[in-house]
Amino acid sequence: MNSKAADRVATGVFIAIALVIVAILAGLLSFILINGLKHISIHFLTTPSSNLLAGGGIRDQLFNSFYVLFVTMIITVPIGVGGGIYMAEYAKPGKLTNSIRSCIEVLASLPSIVIGMFGLLMFVTLTGWGYTIIGGALALTVFNLPVMVRVSEDAIRSVPRDQKEASLALGITHWHTIKTIILPSAFPTILTGAILAAGRVFGEAAALLFTAGQSTGRLDYTDWNPLSPTSPLNLFRPAETLAVHIWAVNTQGLIPDVKDVANGSSAVLVLSVLIFNLMARWLGSLIHRKVTATK
């Protein structure tokens, strides 16, 4: 085989690989959506799940997923952005900065089940809370924090130097420059990164199994007092999220319509993540246009 022919064969192989990757995604998405969408109905979304009978919905799991996500992001975003500011603006090259960087790397590559075990030890057993939403959210914070720090650091570093230098040249202090110049112009990128991270948190299950638990008590949606045990807003109640629910019905479920519930739940989960992704792009470019006055 001469080199021209080998080149053509190789090109064909690379195109085939690309087609295989596209086909995998197309297959997965169409399987989830075709099987799942027909099970999604208002009834499915608004009925509590059942442990034994068919016809259960995912109302509580869906609420729990969003609530855990919300609490996680409330904790993660300020700390993550703060850490990002430190790494981009204050950190001097040295041992401390290196060790912070290594720690971010370690945290980012920890298996989520290990984070779940740490959460079980720290937020469930040591504190004596048992399985709680706040324990789950704190475990997810450990899971999400390195991503948030990296996103914010990159966003802050990509702010043009001229803007920062102009502000400093006007005699404005460093911290004030960060607050009024750098953060606003890094905001769209940070927001996009935060929404993408939220999609990752939304689908996470292994870290929540042993921290937020695999059950949900009876919830009363008219009870808005966060201290009451039946209130959905109570932070100290066990909560099974949608991702955990999919795992639980498939591996230990007793209900006869496991397939339907799992199909519907998977579709809801994947659709939510897709919406997060689309929203991240759309909001990011929208805000970018507004603040930079470019087309």
Binding site: S3, K4, A6, D7, A10, T11, V13, F14, I15, I17, A18, V20, I21, V22, L28, F31, I32, I79, V81, G82, G83, S99, I100, C103, I104, V106, L107, S109, L110, P111, S112, I113, V114, M117, L121, T125, L145, V149, T173, H174, W175, H176, G199, R200, F202, G203, E204, A205, A206, L209, F210, I246, W247, N250, T251, K259, A262, V270, V273, N277
Partner: protein
């Protein structure tokens, strides 16, 4: 006289305020960064102290844990703590899935950077991002409903097998490998390509003889990162691998990994009991492996050529 004092006082006052805001801001963001270190140290210390309890308190032998094939920690008369089948299972699915995902991922990366940099990237980039976005339980569920019956009817065995686990994992780590490999390929300087083409080499010769060797340390980093993810993945594997606590002898045998046994048994055993403590020892092993993967990546990136 009267003029200068208020001015001086004002200057001092405002400077003091600025200093306060300045220092306060720096301290706050510094604390945020310190949380990273404290979380890492806390995880390491907690898991290490809990993980060694099996060996210090319950008297399990480390050699037995790492080399014995017999696993029955709940037996009251003679508990057996051999985790070798799970260690082998973990390494088997990790290497086998990397074996499938690495050529696909690097091939995809080369397609995006060398074959069709304009339109190919526009199509494949979002595809990869969507694959990252699909949650791991959904991969597990699809594996359970499509892959397991397929393996059972067309290839043989129960369907719940190493083979199913490795296929599910290879799809899950594909985006990781592709993304990093794409970065590695596209960060190669164009002079390499132009120099090679100018010598009369074809595109394939350029890719094989020039570009891949130049990007090799980064491509290996991509594969190791993918393997790290595969090693730690729990739920998706647990749903398809069958969770049999014996040594696997072929790809079609059901088996178990460290993560799947932890997932299954952690909720079933009493906290603090010997059969629970041994799970923490397995968790510690996962943590140590995760450190080992990071060291390997460090070593590879120190050998970076360009």
């Amino acid at each position: 006289m009267e003029k200068s004092i208020p001015a001086k006082a004002r200057l001092l006052k405002s400077e003091k305020n600025w200093m306060n805001g300045e220092v306060r801001g720096k301290i706050i963001v510094f604390l945020c960064a310190i949380i990273m270190i404290s979380a890492t140290i806390a995880i390491t210390i907690f898991l290490a102290t809990k993980g060694v309890q099996s060996f210090t308190k319950n008297g399990v032998s480390l050699i037995e844990f790492l080399t014995s094939k017999q696993w029955n920690p709940a037996d009251p008369a003679k508990p057996l703590y051999g985790a070798l089948p799970f260690i082998v299972g973990s390494f088997a699915v990790t290497f086998l899935s990397a074996l499938i995902a690495a050529p696909l991922g690097i091939g995809g990366a080369i397609f995006m950077t060398e074959i069709a940099p304009s339109w190919g990237r526009k199509i494949l980039q979002p595809v990869i991002e969507l694959l990252v976005g699909i949650p791991s339980v959904v991969y597990g569920f699809i594996g359970l409903t499509v892959l397991v019956p397929f393996v059972r009817t067309h290839i043989g065995g129960l369907g719940f097998s190493l083979l199913s686990g490795m296929i599910v994992l290879s799809i899950m780590i594909l985006p990781t490998i592709t993304t990093i490999a794409t970065d590695a390929m596209s960060s190669l300087p164009n002079t390499l390509r132009e120099g090679s083409f100018a010598l009369g080499a074809t595109r394939w010769q350029t890719i094989r003889r020039v570009l891949i060797p130049a990007a090799l340390p980064n491509l290996l980093t991509a594969i190791v990162l993918g393997m790290a993810r595969a090693f730690g993945e729990a739920l998706a594997v647990q749903m398809v691998i069958g969770n049999v606590k014996d040594m696997p002898h072929s790809l079609l045998d059901a088996s178990a990994t460290l993560t799947t046994i932890i997932t299954l048994d952690m909720g079933e055993t009493t906290f603090g009991s010997p059969e629970n403590n041994i799970l923490w020892a397995m968790g510690l092993l996962l943590l140590i492996m995760s450190f080992a993967f990071i060291l390997l990546i460090r070593y590879l990136s120190s050998r970076r050529k360009i």
